[in-house]
Amino acid sequence: MRSRRTFTKWLVVLGALHTIVVCAGFFAPYDPIEQDRKNPYLPPMQLHLMDLQGHVHLRPFAYVLKLREGTFDQYEQDTSQPVVVKFFKSGAGYRLLGFLPSRKHLFGSEETRICLLGTDAYGRDQFSRLLYGGQISLLAGILGAGCTLFIGLFVGSVAGYFGGWRDDVLMRVAELFLALPWLYLLFALRAFLSLSVSPLKAFFLIVVVIGGVGWARPARLVRGVVLSAKERDFVRAARGFGATDGYLLRRHILPETSSVLLTQAAILVPQYVLAEMTLSFLGLGIPEPVPSWGNLLSNLQQYSVLVSYWWMYLPALAMVPFFLGYLGLASSLQERGEAYKIERRGPGSLT
């Protein structure tokens, strides 16, 4: 029961996080590729509730950032110019969920751009880029995991159900894929595909490459489940009644794999998000100007950015809650799977 409750808890956490990313248009104040060349490398703006005289305000406000005299990249707060943050403000148009046209944003301001995480070299708002980038990275992770699970399910069920030489060949290939260090494999696959492509094509390329790398582990797990399931009494009975292979697989055997697949999905998605980040970080993934979590961080490869503009690192920390959510979900799913197994086997055969 406890694992069920933690499962629900993590599901709610992940749901909330993903809602923010899916509705990036609403939560992000600006367009992710809108440039503001006059304000490159703006440091993160602090929101205040208390002004200099010590009065507390109900609405948060920020101070306009101005270039310090005699410098070209040092900003300071201009305390004479407080800017009130407005909620549900109209701004740049976007399509919520891809089809609902809207102009409302969660927050914004009339006088100046409010950049919670600062801006990059082109003055693009990092906070907006983080949210929009999440759409790309998470979708790549989820689609990639879907790809992997599909291949794994197919290979695993063929190997487990039909056995014989198919089993031998497929499992040998799976061992091959398991043996390679995954990042090298990812690199090798990516190396042989074209490099300069449009963002959309690059996205699908990455999904396929990432999804094609990790199928071996789920395939072996599925094979194990199928092997044990096909000897169960009800499956034998169904076969005795003349059920075809396709029917048996679809109706009786593959449903048994659902728990394994779900757990694998929760483990794979963050891994694949990380894989996308790595590829994009190294310039092999989603090309600019489209934001993704990987190429948000690729700025940090320049030494000058590393030295002077530390806030470009902040997006990396924003990913931690997502990873935490998926980790929690995976472990609660695993616990549930074990409890389920124990329940089914009965306490007598716990060895």
Binding site: L180, P181, F187
Partner: protein
């Protein structure tokens, strides 16, 4: 002996399979190193065709594979278009540094994980153990990339650590001790990044394995005989828990090799990582294949080492292979 022969055959098969796999991918590749030249109006199409013929890119795949295999046997591992030399010396020069990083990180990570895991397993469920579990969970959710970059940002902000490269500028003029210190100082950050990314998983497995053994009746019996705690934990419990841990050792080498690829690029360590990235960007085919193959070779070596350990540590394996 038969056990080792079987593992060796398996390893060779694996390497062969990987090389075939890598070559199969090359057929899928649109474009090669000489494609950019074709766009250049100053280079005649005949020249490009001649170059392609010289490097045998116009021959069918099985023939190319055969000639590449031939050059592997002769210790050249194909030809790099960008560097205009055989691949092997290029790779070996870089691989040394990758190995230096990976081996150090492996030793340190296991050196921390074993005692800490046993320590935590002994206090299973009490607050030091729970604190440690929280620590490992926290490390586990920080992505490798964020960890490496964070360390780098920290290094730059404090100015205490070098932010790239392997040696200082005046390295050549230092004494031997100075050289070693300098190297260690430059290695610190990459190794810390690798260890931190590998540690949580190792720690969890060590703890779980030892906890499983501590409950066993023979441990109770040993305790009843008055065997000291330390001997009990490290000689009896750890050895009984060794089997899954040694398999994990092979796996951890693979993970560390992958991790090192990323860390090397982030911290500009002159290992295989930057070379591989560069050759991917310039479509230097044989360097990529060579790099993948070399990393697989390291991994296979690591697994083989793990098998030897296992043979030594687990009497069950010995009897099993003797019976067959």
């Amino acid at each position: 002996m038969r056990f080792f022969l079987r593992r060796l055959r398996h390893a060779l098969f694996l390497l062969l399979g990987v090389s075939i796999l890598a070559f199969l991918f090359t057929t899928l590749a649109p474009g090669n190193y000489f494609d950019e030249m074709r766009l250049n109006p100053q280079i005649a199409p005949e020249t490009v065709a001649a170059l392609r013929a010289q490097y045998q890119l116009d021959r069918p795949l099985p023939l190319r594979y055969a000639s590449w295999m031939n050059s592997v046997v002769h210790g050249r591992m194909g030809f790099s278009f960008a560097y205009n030399t055989p691949v092997a010396p290029l790779l070996f020069a870089r691989a040394r540094y990758t190995l230096l990083l990976t081996v150090t990180a492996t030793l340190i990570a296991w050196g921390i994980a074993l005692p800490l895991g046993v320590w935590s397993a002994e206090r299973f469920g009490r607050w030091p153990d729970r604190l440690l579990s929280w620590g490992t969970a926290a490390l586990l959710v920080i992505p490798d990339l964020a960890l490496a970059l964070g360390l780098l940002v920290l290094a730059v902000r404090t100015g205490r650590f070098p932010t790239g490269g392997m040696t200082s500028l005046e390295f050549e003029r230092l004494s031997l001790g100075g050289k070693l210190c300098d190297l260690a100082w430059h290695m610190t950050l990459p190794v810390v990044a690798l260890v931190l990314s590998a540690l949580p998983l190792l720690l969890r497995h060590v703890r779980a394995a030892v906890v499983g053994v501590l409950d066993a009746p023979f441990m109770l019996a040993a305790r009843g005989h008055g065997i000291p705690r330390r001997t009990l934990l490290y000689r009896y419990a750890l050895r009984a828990a060794a089997n899954p841990l040694i398999s994990l050792f092979g796996f951890s080498i693979g993970a560390l090799l992958s991790g090192s690829l990323l860390v090397e690029v982030v911290m500009s360590w002159p290992g295989l990582g930057p070379l591989l990235l560069e050759s991917i960007l310039s479509r230097d085919l044989y360097v990529v294949i060579g790099g993948v193959l070399l990393s697989t070779f390291f991994l296979v070596c690591g697994n083989f080492l793990a098998d030897i350990f296992l043979y030594w540590a687990d009497p069950r394996i010995r009897t099993e292979s003797g019976a067959r």
